[in-house]
Assembly symmetry: C4
Homo-oligomer: 199 residues x 4
């Protein structure tokens, strides 16, 4: 099965999900707002969550690009594991909205932070499972044969990238700000050339 349409469909879903993030930025109701600058300022968690989620989805897209780029063709299992990955990416606008809403509410910020980091963790797990399947179960579908050490290294990177999100979920009951800070640092880290090794 040709991988071109798999890429096109994945790009489409990721592009829609990343752009839907803007719907979480709600214009303050003029009738209930005295000072627009102040009202916009109060909504800073929304902007922070927008930037973190946008960069994180964007980085997943770059990594998805690299992962599928290694494939010569796709099979049914790859299509379905990819579908599960897209399902988790599709949840991120909701998780982002939840985080942004409750970080400035009087309660619920710990739960919202756990859901937020948990959604990234779920996405990372789906990514690692698909990557593992491609690298090991379906190594014959790879464009270039990679030796076992190289394949293990690529997978190790996918999996080790999950650890900070586990921490981010774990600290959510203590501090929602710590959770969001970890997610932000991760997005910034992956967005710098420091984090690149292979892509």
């Amino acid at each position: 099965m040709d991988k071109g349409r798999l890429e096109a469909f994945s790009d489409g879903v990721i592009a829609v999900a990343i752009t839907l993030l803007v719907l979480n930025l709600v214009v303050p109701d003029p009738g209930r707002t005295q000072n627009l600058a102040h009202a916009l300022g109060q909504r800073w968690p929304g902007y922070v969550a927008y930037v973190i989620s946008f960069l994180t989805i964007g980085i997943i897209w770059v990594n998805h690009h690299a992962m599928i780029g290694r494939l010569r063709e796709a099979d049914h299992t790859i299509l379905l594991l990819n579908l599960v990955l897209l399902l988790t990416i599709g949840l991120l606008p909701f998780a982002t909205n939840l985080m942004a809403t409750y970080l400035r509410a009087a309660h619920g910020e710990h739960v919202a932070a756990a859901v937020y980091a948990g959604a990234f963790l779920l996405m990372g797990c789906s990514f690692a499972i698909l990557n593992r399947h491609i690298l090991f179960a379906k190594a014959h579908l790879l464009e270039t044969q990679l030796d076992s050490g190289r394949r293990r290294l690529i997978l190790f990177r996918s999996v080790s990238g999950l650890a900070p999100y586990v921490v981010a979920v774990a600290v959510a009951p203590l501090s929602a700000y710590a959770t969001i800070a970890i997610c932000g640092v991760l997005a910034a880290f992956y967005a710098t050339p420091l984090a690149t090794g292979g892509t």
Copy 2:
């Protein structure tokens, strides 16, 4: 007529429809919620409906991929039957929202379940009609000539896949949960390698 843009447009519509499903997951209003974890938990029908609809649309995409992949080129009738199929796929975010909303409301769950399974049934019928048209009326547009038995088998699969959705609609007046369970089992079944024969 080249089939490339037909695929690109269909991928686009399906990608948007599948990603719009997330808009059905509404963040609980902080002012009306005491306990966010509890409020999110109560909304489980939304998550279940999201997963079922996402997988079902994803599987239709995989099947669409296979169906169009058999074509060498498209003609006007194929474009229009495909448009009708996309019209039914476009309805699914609405049907999903309806199901998720009324499964936890005090009334209306039977109607909502019938509409939900009915929307899948409608999509399946459109798919089978397009598939039948491609396989029989426009067999000369196929990439590879398929013998009559093979064509009948492919169509039989499309049509027989509709039967469980007929049952799902039929049981809706008895139990909305039974309807959603049938839809869920079907999505899970088609997502497993068991269901593959050809793709």
Copy 3:
């Protein structure tokens, strides 16, 4: 300039616009609804408007496909006239929502019908202007040289297709139902093989 990205971008915008139509189908509020079947039935203008708009946008996509297919490459003016066409297509989810909302309201249905048919007319005019530009001003960019009679015939079809929409706008002050009926008949007419001559 390569026309591939022009097609890809246009397909993207049209695919998003056509899929956003579903957002006009609003789930009835369970707290204000006694009978879901009845509440859904009352919203029939929404379903009718969805189907008409979906088919009309879909047909514009098919025609766009044919128009751009005649081009060998695009230039700056084509890109910008195409952008204006996309701008008018982008308005259709709003016009559809307006029509569906006011057809079942106590007032405003005539204005809404005029806006609805007017939006289709605007889209048709943009299409004809772009088509005219491609066929006459930029005939050297055509893939195949078409003789003057053939080019005039193609343009005549684009322009004559506008007349019924002028009628649909004109009858809006008399009957919103007549307007929507004309739009519906046009969509059905163009969707049948009868209407094809060239695509």
Copy 4:
């Protein structure tokens, strides 16, 4: 790294962002409206903002097309700077909504105008930074080698295009209408063939 998927993803995000602009055009509530024509007329800032933002995003797409068209392939930094550009484009539906809402509100129009023009300025800066990186830091990735003067000219155009947006932000505290007029004139200017030199 192949630039095809970079283009496809960028086209997807831009196409979704440009089409989401229509969600800012809200249908007046029939229960609170006496005269639909009047209610629609009052919302003229929404239509003006829609047209300006649609054209501006469309022109950025055309320029993005030209910028990426010069590349032979992309690298990690280009992907990430492009992601930042897409992040700023993704903000425009929000900024457009803010402008349209507050231009007809009793207060806040100066802040809204500053945010609106500021969002365009941010997008223009991201564009110029990416363009600079491609033209100077990564000149070896260009499809055709451009001499230093030509590269400086292209970058100069990107940067000098920012100046009017700086003015538009600066005049926002004086007159929101002046800000929107500048943005509108810029969109119209870039949309005419006058503005083209290179694309």
